[in-house]
């Protein structure tokens, strides 16, 4: 999906949502505190967009780092989890069970030990997006592609790198989809982390706006988040497409 298509999609969804909000507002004559009027939104947008933009850029940067770590982590865990060894079993078990804990419950412990800096944001972002990745990766890595692997197995040539390569290649499209999808989750994760405890980024900004009950600010933040998610996803898709083209020898 091209970048323009993605942006167009995002914009149409966002503004449709906004329109619905306003229709409800005027239909039920809700007060301006419940739902801000267009004028207020515009005013907030013009006076705060610079600060918010900086915050979103900051968040996106952390999200990308978190996403990367999550991809590496998920690959590693899925790979280890694939094997039946003690360490493999242990890793898989830990990885699976840890996810059973909601980040809001684990966050106090994370913040206790890592403080409220970058490390916590990164960890939480990675934790939130890594699980969908892990799920797909475990599925993909543990399913043999017999038609291709048979030769390597029967000739004793099989090894983990080859196995990984074959299964990755045969599922390239699925992997790209999952990575693109988890990209949004990385952004979501970063924002949640910022919301809970950081002093930077758009999540923090949202938290402040919430304490002021300022829906207009939240809407501006949502717009920028959507915009940057779309940009990031387009980028990953583009890279994925290039990699695929090279591998397929097109």
């Amino acid at each position: 999906m091209g970048i323009f298509k993605r942006l167009l999609q995002f914009a149409s969804i966002f503004f449709t949502g906004l329109a619905i909000l306003w229709i409800i507002k005027y239909a039920y004559s809700f007060s301006d505190y419940l739902i801000p009027p267009p004028a207020e939104l515009l005013q907030v947008a013009t006076s705060y967009w610079k600060i918010y933009l900086a915050a979103v850029v900051n968040t996106t940067a952390v999200a990308i780092a978190g996403h990367f770590s999550a991809i590496l982590l998920a690959t590693l865990v899925a790979f280890l989890g694939r094997s039946g060894s003690v360490i493999g079993n242990l890793t898989r078990t830990a990885a699976y069970n840890l996810q059973a804990y909601p980040i809001v419950a684990v966050a106090p412990i994370i913040f206790l030990f890592l403080g409220d800096g970058l490390a916590s944001r990164l960890l939480i972002a990675a934790m939130i997006c890594y699980f969908p990745l892990l799920l797909s990766f475990i599925g993909i890595f543990s399913e043999p592609v017999d038609q291709v692997e048979h030769f390597f197995r029967t000739t004793g040539r099989i090894n983990w790198r080859l196995e990984l390569a074959i299964r990755t290649f045969e599922n390239l499209d699925k992997i790209t989809t999952v990575i693109v999808g988890s990209g949004t989750m990385a952004i979501v994760g970063t924002i949640v982390a910022e919301f809970l405890a950081a002093t930077n980024g758009i999540g923090y900004t949202i938290r402040k706006a919430l304490y002021q009950s300022n829906l207009a600010k939240i809407l501006v933040a949502l717009f920028l988040i959507g915009l940057f998610s779309s940009l990031y996803l387009s980028l990953i898709e583009y890279i994925g497409g290039r990699i695929k083209m090279r591998l397929m020898g097109g």
Partner: protein, 238 residues
């Protein structure tokens, strides 16, 4: 060089009828051996047992060779990320480079070395796949209908060539083509259709052992041999 199957029993999990009940046979010399029998009789199953892919329920397989036992079949694919040429080079065993070049030439696949496997016709796939097995270091190669989609002239050419190539190893060939089985095999192991009460008896029939350009038998002999194979396969007394 020895391959012995002793009193094999095998039944696929979840099925009622066993495929083998006390199957035994032995081969004590290398060469081109065929495994012949009607569809569904158990050829592929036997191949999988010999190669160790599935363990028999009872009985044992005894092998004495210098190299590994390879089993190739015709649903295999190459990895998709490299051209067939690259793949062949990558998996070619040390010291088999010359052989590889020779086979590429003989099997007329040179024009397709730049293609991916998925971009080949079925017969081209068959040949590429066989080549990669032939450039391995093995003691026994079981080839399960690996040339089923290759045209006959090419196939005959390939089989005649293999005889020389693998003179000191066991080439266990599974095919439904009675003619080529009769012509090229030194021995044919025939799995008969109606195994006698309670136990699977394999019949061993001599083939004509034809090599490249050294046809030493009469047309009549060939006809007889083909007929003999088919009778054995259908379980008739010879």
């Amino acid at each position: 060089m020895r391959l012995v199957c002793d009193n094999l029993y095998y039944r696929y999990p979840g099925t009622d009828t066993p495929v083998f009940k006390g199957l035994s046979f032995g081969i004590d010399r290398p060469g081109f051996i065929s495994l012949f029998g009607f569809s569904g009789i158990g050829k592929s199953t036997l191949a999988r047992i010999i190669s160790g892919e599935i363990p028999p329920d009872k009985g044992r397989v005894d092998v004495e060779t210098t190299g590994q036992i390879l089993y190739s079949h015709n649903a295999e694919r190459f990895p998709g990320w490299e051209s067939t040429g690259h793949h062949l080079e990558r998996v070619c065993d040390y010291g088999k480079r010359d052989l590889l070049a020779h086979l590429i030439e003989e099997y007329a696949v040179a024009p397709y070395l730049h293609s991916r496997y998925s971009g080949l016709s079925m017969g081209q796939k068959n040949r590429m796949n066989l080549i990669r097995y032939l450039v391995q270091d093995f003691g026994i190669l079981i080839a399960d209908e690996v040339l089923a989609n290759v045209d006959e002239p090419t196939r005959n050419h390939i089989l005649a060539g293999i005889k020389e190539l693998l003179a000191d190893r066991i080439f266990l060939y599974i095919s439904h083509n009675a003619l080529e089985v009769a012509r090229f095999s030194r021995l044919v192991l025939v799995l008969p259709q109606n195994p006698e009460e309670g136990h699977t008896a394999i019949r061993i029939i001599d083939g004509l052992d034809e090599g490249t350009g050294q046809r030493t038998y009469e047309e009549r002999t060939l006809q007889d041999r083909v007929y003999q194979l088919l009778r054995a396969a259908s379980g008739m007394k010879t």
